[in-house]
């Protein structure tokens, strides 16, 4: 079970090998970047949900029904 598969589509040559130290370092950097991007995406999503909930509560306090409030905020 190799880490890396390199194929030449013209010749059909296949190389299977483990990561080089440089590739391992890059993979670790990629993993951290991917985790940070996912965390940022989740945080943004949660912030949107929280803002929407807050807007719904404020609209309800103004006397709008839940359906009317949801129509405004696009829920």
């Amino acid at each position: 079970m190799a880490d890396v598969l390199i194929v030449n589509a013209k010749t059909g040559e296949r190389i299977e090998r483990d990561f080089t130290p440089e590739e391992l370092a890059q993979r670790e950097a990629d993993r951290i970047a991917a985790e940070e991007a996912e965390a940022a995406r989740v945080a943004e999503e949660e912030a949107k949900i929280a803002a929407k909930q807050s807007a719904l509560q404020k609209l309800a306090a103004l006397g709008l029904t839940e359906e009317e409030a949801q129509a405004i905020v696009g829920a």
């Binding site: 890396v4 013209k10 993979r27 991007a37």
Partner: protein, 201 residues
């Protein structure tokens, strides 16, 4: 499908018509040629690769001047639910220029739809949302031309819960690429990759 010879040419019939293959013009000719007005497939198969439990798959010498645009069909399983990345490649080396790859994502799971945009040293090409099976259908536009390259990909998780992830992307380097690397930052993946070229005319 049946076949017959008419005036020296060969006609291959099916229920909707026939394709005529032109016979050699001289006895010494060794190759049958399709008439210029014959039906030609739009997609030409270039390569199929099966892989098992790898973290990275690179394909070299697959983009060329013969086709401008390419289609990638992948059927994969994964040991992790992670983003799946692609870097364009030339002469056996990936291009990982910082902030040169922009990806626009649109995902849908049940009634939840969300969008996001990322700028990195790779395209966020797809994802393994479900380890049980994922289908990927992608187009890469003009990778061999020394111009900006773009892509579109649709990933569908094919397990019990359907999941949709549509991505488009641009790459701002005016470089001619002959291949690509697909990889994921953690875990391994297995499956089949099929690459086709779109006939230019």
């Amino acid at each position: 499908m049946g076949g017959c010879i008419m005036s020296g040419n060969i006609r291959l019939y099916n229920t909707s018509g026939y394709v005529e293959l032109q016979a050699p013009s001289s006895a010494s000719a060794q190759v049958l040629e399709l008439p210029t007005d014959s039906i030609k497939p739009a997609l030409v198969h270039l390569h199929t690769e099966n892989f098992s439990a790898v973290s990275s798959v690179s394909v070299d010498d697959v983009f060329s001047s013969e086709y401008e645009n390419y289609r990638l069909i992948l059927d994969t399983t994964s040991t992790a639910n992670v983003e799946w990345s692609l870097r364009l490649r030339v002469s056996g080396a990936d291009n990982s220029t910082a902030n040169s790859y922009v990806t626009q994502k649109l995902t849908a799971s049940a009634s939840t739809v969300s969008g996001s945009r990322t700028t990195h040293d790779n395209w966020s090409f797809g994802e393994h949302q479900n380890v049980q099976g994922n289908g990927h259908d992608a187009i890469i536009w003009r990778p061999f031309a020394a111009e900006k390259t773009s892509f579109w990909n649709n990933t569908a998780a094919t397990a019990s819960n359907a999941y949709l992830s549509i991505r488009t992307g641009t790459h701002n380097q005016a470089t001619s690429y002959d291949g690509f690397t697909i990889y994921q930052a953690s875990g391994t993946f297995s499956g089949t990759l099929r690459i086709y070229g779109y006939r230019n005319s």
